[in-house]
């Protein structure tokens, strides 16, 4: 498992895009209807690339949608399309929850 930041594919977290960054969580933590901003992907380069080509890019907004019975896999709305991911994959996609107004940032 490689962390992509600092890799040849270079995904630097555009911190400026998130004024008050919420604590890091993963796509698995999203309930249906929740939205989050992608931070980085903790997957091997090739797998991460595949996700990026589908729109899972740092800074992009992801909304959790319907899922198969049991919540796995779940459909995510990202960059104008709907992509289903298994939990095992979604776990490695680190996001910051978009908190609707009530910013609860821990120091």
């Amino acid at each position: 498992m490689l962390q992509l930041s600092g890799n040849s594919t270079q995904i630097e977290m555009p911190l400026a895009a998130v004024p008050l960054p919420a604590p890091l969580s993963t796509l698995v933590d999203l309930q249906k209807g929740d939205a989050a901003i992608l931070d980085h992907i903790e997957l091997p380069v090739d797998d991460a690339r595949r996700l990026m080509e589908l729109g899972f890019l740092p800074g992009s907004r992801i909304t959790a949608g319907f899922s198969a019975p049991g919540g796995d896999p779940r459909v995510f709305q990202v960059d104008g399309s709907e992509i289903a991911l298994r939990r095992v994959t979604a776990r490695h996609v680190k996001v910051r929850l978009e908190t609707s107004g009530k910013v609860t940032r821990k120091p």
């Binding site: 890019l57 960059d79 992509i83």
Partner: protein, 624 residues
């Protein structure tokens, strides 16, 4: 999964011989962008859809003809998101575009098909394609969807930004296809150099695509309302699986109930007309070949065409509408549990039609071990060649009674059970393989959910036409050939007259293997059928049709009746289970050898499936 790359049917097909100036154009685009719809539009029904069962190539080639008689070869490539090949189908696309694919000329131009309703992301693919430096037409497909859902863009501005011509079309509705022809007929100018992003850098590519889109005034359409609404049912935690179940039961029930009367009528027609034909023709070995071999033998397979077509109609509707992606999502849990990735699901579904294209479709699976595991279990899925055998035996041996109400009768339940049995065998085998020899790290499961669409009559019609051709071709080649050879074998040894059938060559072979199959409840006649069905499963029907037709005891009887006189109910169940498990298909063996690159896997697979079939049939015969 519409096209069957049937090895028995199609020898390597040569591209139509044309005057020297044939140009080759590649059709490229992301999955689900409508490439194949456009391909069919461009090449029309006159197309020569050639699957190249060569060593490696798996692109489709067709000819687009202009009114003036000139022609352009169009190569339909597998869907790609980028030009970074990871799986074998992407490798094919990459190789063809770079002129590295043996047997396919390097394309002189590219038709890049993008989904206009999701342009910003799809434009990412334009960067590596334009970087090839070939004349390129950017085709923005699904214009009708874009318009209906309130999206828009400035075409001339986009063309300027990309340095290449742009056409907004709807391949489904046939709008704007003329522009594509104009491009093909025109001079095909090379793209004007534009500033392209660093191709390896996905975020940069996306940024570039977004910038190009916004400069062209692209406004994305609103999300499709109907897709959300339908998904709230189809992906509902309770209603979803229920609908899934209803769809499966509904399809099987309809296949059995709607097509069975047609097949029954055709069957009794074959029997009566056979009698009439035999009476009308002067008695000679030749008339016997015609009546018993061709008419009763091959004819008894042909009567199952309605059932097979109905199956493909349903697969087509499910696939074209977008429901299949939801079904894949619902079934993914099961796949994960047996250690297979979600990507295996689509090839396995396709195996319900025919295992051959399914095995080729496994090329989309990047992981070698996952791919081999999927190849090995695909032939367990109930393919359309098993359907006639099942239909015949069930109709002959299972009395029609209500089982679960009148919705699922005993016959429908039996057919459902056989489909389930094949699936279970696949799942158990996968579990065994994945926990032993083919263990591997899971690759991420990524499945794009397309918006729901109405299937078009044109697309469904093409599929059915294609399937009819394959079915008739098989009946006219493999099955006819095997039947004629068998007919000859019933005349040998020829000494002034035909020997009694059980002492003929065919009978001797059958009686030689009889001791092996007797524990399964089969006699020598079924044994002969089992041997001939090694070529193709349906051949057992033509074989039995022929043997019963020649046997004085059963001559003139319908096939179902003769079978009932020959098999016990236990034997019939044993035969059904034998067919559910055994790998009786030369085309499948050949394609597995090719795709796995050697004889080891197909031989193991054949032996494993054969052993399972024998054991299953043995148990069935002794229990029932």
């Amino acid at each position: 999964m519409s096209e069957c790359h049937d090895c028995a049917g199609c020898a390597p097909v040569a591209v139509l011989a044309r005057p020297a100036a044939v140009r080759t154009v590649a059709l490229v685009g992301p999955p689900n962008s409508g490439k194949t719809t456009l391909f069919n539009r461009l090449t029309g029904l006159r197309q020569k859809v050639a699957n190249f069962p060569g060593v490696t190539v798996e692109q489709h080639t067709g000819i687009a003809e202009f009114p003036d008689g000139r022609a352009v070869t169009i190569v339909d490539l597998p869907g790609i998101y980028s030009l970074q090949p990871r799986s074998e189908d992407e490798q094919v696309a990459y190789d063809v575009l770079h002129g590295k694919r043996a047997g396919t000329p390097k394309p002189e131009a590219v038709l890049l098909v993008l989904d206009s309703t999701n342009l910003a992301r799809h434009l990412m693919l334009a960067a590596p394609i334009l970087a090839l430096g070939l004349p390129t037409l950017i085709i923005l497909n699904m214009a009708d969807d874009l318009r209906n859902r309130g999206g828009k863009l400035d075409l001339s501005k986009l063309s300027q930004e990309l340095g290449a011509p742009v056409a907004l079309i709807s391949a489904r509705a046939g709008q704007g296809v003329g522009e594509v022809f104009d491009f093909l007929a025109g001079t095909m100018a090379k793209p004007a150099p534009t500033l392209l992003p660093v191709l390896q850098d996905v975020p940069k590519c996306r940024e570039w695509a977004g910038a190009v889109g916004s400069k062209a005034g692209y406004r994305a359409p609103i999300a499709p309302k109907w897709t959300r609404r339908l998904d709230s049912v189809f992906l509902h935690p309770v209603a979803g699986p229920l609908v899934f179940l209803l769809v499966v039961v509904g399809v099987i029930r309809t296949i059995f109930m709607a097509a069975a009367p047609i097949s029954d009528a055709a069957q009794s027609f074959i029997a009566t007309s056979g009698k009439w034909l035999a009476a009308a023709l002067p008695a000679s070995p030749f008339s016997s070949l015609l009546v018993d071999g061709v008419w009763k033998g091959v004819g008894s397979v042909l009567v199952f065409l309605p059932q097979v077509l109905l199956l493909f109609l349903f697969i087509g509707i499910l696939e074209d509408s977008g429901y299949l992606a939801r079904a894949a999502l619902i079934a993914d849990r099961t796949m994960a549990r047996v250690g297979l990735q979600g990507k295996s699901f689509i090839p396995l579904l396709s195996a319900y039609g025919c295992a051959v294209p399914a095995i080729m479709a496994t090329r989309t699976i990047e992981n070698k071990r996952d791919r081999i595991a999927t190849i090995l279990i695909a032939p367990f899925m109930t393919c359309s060649a098993r359907l006639p055998v099942y239909a015949l035996l069930i109709a002959a041996f299972i009395p029609e009674r209500n089982f679960i109400g009148s919705v699922i009768t005993t016959q429908v339940a039996a057919l459902l059970g056989l489909y389930l049995l094949g699936f279970l065998a696949a799942v158990v085998t996968a579990r065994l393989l994945k926990s032993s020899v083919l263990k591997s790290v899971q690759a991420p499961f990524v499945l794009e959910m397309p918006s729901y669409r109405w299937p078009t009559v044109q697309s469904l019609g093409l599929r059915l036409l294609d399937r009819s051709k394959v079915f008739l071709q098989r009946a006219g080649t493999v099955i006819l050939l095997v039947t004629v050879i068998l007919w000859v074998a019933t005349y040998l040894p020829y000494s002034g007259g035909k020997p009694p059938i059980e002492h003929s060559l065919a009978g001797t072979v059958g009686r030689t293997i009889e001791p092996i199959i007797q524990p399964l409840g089969f006699n020598w006649k079924i044994g002969v059928g089992l041997i001939t069905s090694l070529a193709a499963r349906e051949t057992i029907i033509s074989t039995l049709g022929l043997i019963y037709g020649m046997d004085p005891d059963s001559q003139g009887m319908e096939l179902q009746k003769s079978l009932r006189a020959d098999l016990t109910t236990g034997g019939a169940f044993a035969l059904l289970i034998f067919f559910a498990f055994a790998m009786q298909c030369m085309s499948t063996v050949a394609v597995v050898r090719r795709e796995t690159g050697g004889w080891m896997w197909p031989v193991l697979q054949f032996a494993y499936m054969g052993a399972l079939a024998y054991a299953g049939a043995f148990v069935a015969f002794h229990v029932i």
